[in-house]
């Protein structure tokens, strides 16, 4: 369980890290919290010649409010998300999601940017980001660009992040006061990835759905936005029939891979059930 040999670099600034990326190109991998990459390197599924550790770049950490936008440094850890009073007040969905990721030790190391840019469909932040309408700042030697979470995930381990780019920041439009939310995650045990999970944000006007976003974890090649289910709910009352129809439409876009967590039919059914539960809980938390 020892990785293949590599050279280790610990840049102190983003320009230094970008310089190393430019120098080593495809041979380099960025190290964030290391709790996906190092296990892959130990199994020799990843064999980078150069490891660029982002852990010493202070400007990549922190959570702040900038007008109506929450700006989160990509190297902010899950534990920092969990204990952030700002997020608890302004974006509790992110806190709820982070609390369900892996286990305490992993959450001290695991980072939001690493979780997102790894492109693993089993990771939880991608669906949370889709439900929150987040965008990502990607920086390279030639400048920076901002891409929306909706566009970022291309396929399994495949994202818009280019080999010469570093994800530096996550931007989340602060949900309006009274927005209901929920991350419903089914997992077999602590530390396991989701069998299926659903992230929901919901704004109600009286008993009518005004706005809703639904995103699914680990039931496709990447996190999925359940747009047909969202469309079916807008303007409707969230009664049992509407919940059942939303769950059915969410299930219709699922294409999970059978593994030890269940077969295709079971995982799809659980994605529907998580959608139903997340909508119900979000409804109970929303201002009506």
């Amino acid at each position: 369980m020892i990785p293949r040999e590599f050279d280790y670099h610990a840049p102190q600034s983003i320009p230094d890290a970008l310089g190393l990326l430019a120098q080593f190109g495809d041979e380099a991998k960025l190290l964030a919290g290391g709790h996906s990459l190092l296990p892959m390197m130990k199994l020799r599924l990843a064999e980078p010649g150069h490891l660029i550790d982002l852990g010493r770049i202070r400007e990549l950490q922190g959570i702040r409010e900038d007008g109506d936008t929450l700006r989160i440094g990509a190297m902010t850890t899950e534990n920092q998300l969990i204990w952030s009073q700002l997020l608890q007040d302004k974006c509790p969905l992110l806190v709820e999601g982070a609390r369900l990721i892996s286990d305490p030790q992993v959450r001290y190391k695991g980072t939001i940017g690493g979780d997102i840019s790894h492109g693993d469909p089993a990771n939880d932040h991608p669906a949370l980001m889709l439900a929150l309408g987040a965008s990502y700042v990607l920086q390279s030697a030639s400048g920076e660009r901002v891409v929306s979470a909706d566009d970022f995930f291309v396929g399994m381990y495949d994202t818009l992040l280019q080999p010469d780019e570093i994800m530096t920041e996550i931007r989340i439009p602060a949900p309006a006061q009274g927005t209901g939310y929920c991350y419903a995650k089914l997992k077999r045990k602590v530390g396991d990835f989701a069998t299926a999970a659903a992230a929901v944000t919901l704004r109600m006007q009286g008993e009518t759905v005004q706005e809703v976003a639904i995103a699914l974890t680990n039931v496709g090649a990447c996190a999925l936005r359940a747009r047909e289910a969202e469309d079916a709910l807008r303007g409707k009352t969230l009664d049992d029939a509407a919940l059942a129809e939303a769950a059915r439409l969410a299930m219709s876009i699922c294409d999970p891979v059978e593994d030890q967590r269940g077969d295709v039919e079971y995982k799809t059914a659980m994605a529907g059930e998580m959608t139903r539960r997340a909508l119900s809980t979000a409804n109970s938390r929303a201002t009506h």
Partner: protein, 161 residues
């Protein structure tokens, strides 16, 4: 071959230097080069928590950290708990409440519980179970581990009161 480098950090209050290849995992440096065999290798896949150490105020699985990442860090292992012949409240708690059978998970359990109690000095049973969930025990059924952490929490809070 990647060049070896010297990494310096504080281990249980003592400055140490260790010469490693970048690929060396912290648990291997601790056990094989620094003779700190308290942290155990259980799964070596960041699941079991037997290798838990405290780095700069964080509970970390030392099988999933490179030694080179620890330059200038403050590392605490189970060897650093006893002070002047006195057991730490957690060590006493695990003894008094019989929070172990085979003892393999115990160094990781105690090291993790130490950081938990620093962050939350009087956790509820539910909180103990949630925040200790990264450490597996195959003997006890966890009941007495929870009691051991509660014992230590009570002792530490009455000592500081």
């Amino acid at each position: 071959m990647a060049k070896k480098q010297t990494v310096s950090f504080t281990l249980n209050g003592t400055q140490v230097d260790v010469v490693v290849e970048p690929r060396e995992l912290l648990i291997h440096s601790l056990r094989e080069k620094l003779q700190h065999t308290g942290p155990h290798i259980g799964c070596e896949t960041s699941h079991c928590g037997a290798c838990t150490v405290d780095i700069d105020g964080m509970s970390v699985k030392s099988c999933t950290v490179l030694t080179v990442q620890c330059q200038d860090a403050e590392v605490l292992t189970i060897e650093g708990f006893e002070q002047g012949g006195e057991l730490h409240a957690l060590q006493e708690g695990f003894t008094q409440e019989h929070g172990l059978q085979c003892g393999y998970c115990t160094p990781g359990m105690i090291t993790r519980a130490y950081r938990l109690l620093k962050e939350n000095p009087s956790p509820s049973e539910e909180e103990i179970r949630y925040w200790m969930a990264g450490n597996l025990c195959r003997c006890t059924g966890y009941q007495n581990i929870v009691k051991a952490v509660q014992y230590a929490a009570n002792k530490l809070s009455s000592a500081s009161a």
